[in-house]
Symmetry: C2
């Protein structure tokens, strides 16, 4: 499977925010995420970096 | 492998922009992409949607 985990980067640390993300979409200055299990979250911030080979999405507050 | 192809969405169509993307990072209002083969591109636009299960990144001009 090719999903990735989303982390929030804050104070030099990455904290898990949502596992197994499938869909990610910027929406009105926020980031909409949906995972394999249908769980949805909206993060008030922005994308810092995505590494697909590492299955990793890093988000950060503005 | 879990890379994705990046497409530009324009006029209702999706045109291939970069294959096998690994890294993607917003930078100064643009999108930096690097693929498995070390090829790098900077797209002057924004992310429309990512679907990891479909191995698909869709970018769009502002």
């Amino acid at each position: 499977m090719c999903e990735a985990n989303a982390y929030i980067y804050e104070n030099g640390k990455e904290n898990l925010y949502l596992e197994s993300v499938d869909i990610m979409r910027p929406e009105e200055g926020k980031i909409y995420l949906r995972n394999l299990f249908g769980e949805q979250k909206i993060f008030d911030g922005e994308i810092k970096e995505i590494s697909l080979l590492h299955h990793k999405i890093v988000l950060t507050k503005r």
